[in-house]
């Protein structure tokens, strides 16, 4: 428990950029559990209980902390930190960047990953508690939506995988409301003798099909 708290404090001090996608407490938990589990696994001279009990204790502590973080905003802020606004109205907040050990190169890299090359295009850039950068551009930098353009578009729905690497996923086919006969007909139209000749077949709720034939030479 002492080590757990110590490592959480250390990770929190390191800043969000080091955390990646995990919350600090989750990262610490994975690090310690991996280590605790490996010790009795490697050394038969150490009873299994010396690994099991600390792991159960850590899982219980994490469970308690997760409940407390949902109940208390202040506690959540202490444990996970708060999101930091690193760009506000196109201006880089150097103090926030320094507080989060975020370098200019890292910020620019994150912005480029989101499709923005210039901080001036960004209204807000927020460094989330899980280390991800959320970028909210100025309204005039956002692509117009169909609603804004007053254009009617067809809702395609969620495409489901019906054939994956030659294997038919009948559950997905049934979920879409089609049967094997319908599928065989669609495959025949596209020159396939059966699902075994298909690498990937996606079907959405409107019946639109994406088909990739299997490369039989591989």
């Amino acid at each position: 428990m002492i080590l757990y708290i110590l490592i959480i404090a250390g990770i929190r001090l390191m800043g969000k950029r080091q955390v990646g996608e995990l919350e600090p407490s989750e990262l610490v938990l994975s690090l310690i559990i991996a280590d605790l589990a490996s010790v009795p696994m490697q050394d038969y001279g150490i009873p299994l209980l010396t690994g099991v009990i600390p792991i159960l204790t850590l899982l219980s502590v994490t469970m308690i902390l997760s409940v407390l973080t949902t109940k208390s905003v202040r506690f959540r802020a202490v444990l996970c930190g708060r999101p930091s606004i690193v760009i506000r109205d196109g201006l880089v907040d150097q103090k926030e960047m320094s507080r989060n050990r975020l370098t200019v190169d890292e910020l620019l890299e994150e912005l480029r990953c989101k499709g923005y090359t210039d901080p001036a295009m960004v209204k807000y850039a927020i460094l989330e508690t899980n280390g991800q950068l959320s970028v909210l551009p100025y309204a005039n930098q956002k692509p117009p939506t169909a609603r804004q353009l007053k254009v009617s578009v067809e809702e395609a729905g969620l495409p489901l995988v019906v054939v994956s690497d030659g294997r038919l996923l009948e559950r997905n086919l049934t979920a879409l409301g089609y049967d094997r006969r319908w599928l065989d007909k669609r495959l025949e139209e596209r020159g396939c003798a059966g699902p075994e000749e298909v690498f990937l077949l996606l079907v959405d709720e409107s019946g639109a099909i994406y088909l990739a034939r299997k490369d039989m030479s591989i």
Binding site: I53, S60, M63
Partner: protein, 126 residues
Amino acid sequence: MKRLWIAAALMAAMLAGSLANAWYAQTLCDGLNRDLELAQTSAQAGKWDRAEELTREVYNTWQDHHFYLHTVMRHSDTDSILRSFRSVLQYLKLEEMDQYAAANADLMAQIELLAEMEQASVVNVL
């Protein structure tokens, strides 16, 4: 809230288990040391047979707790105590007072440390 209570109950159960184990280890080791001390007193009085009988009883008690000791304690510690028992029994057969007293003191210290290791004390935690 259910998750909170499950976690709290699990932690309480583990704490209770650890405290019970600490108490049990202390009681077991105190009993063993008491009999080893009696054996040494008998040996000092020249009653070597009685000393051997008492030590063998302690050894048998130790062996009866083999499963508990191997699941809770470090095997290197319990194995070391087992080796010490064998030495003490050998010195008792030879009726070598100096060697026996030294080996018995070492055995008792090891048993005492084993119980101490299980105690929920600040020293152990730090």
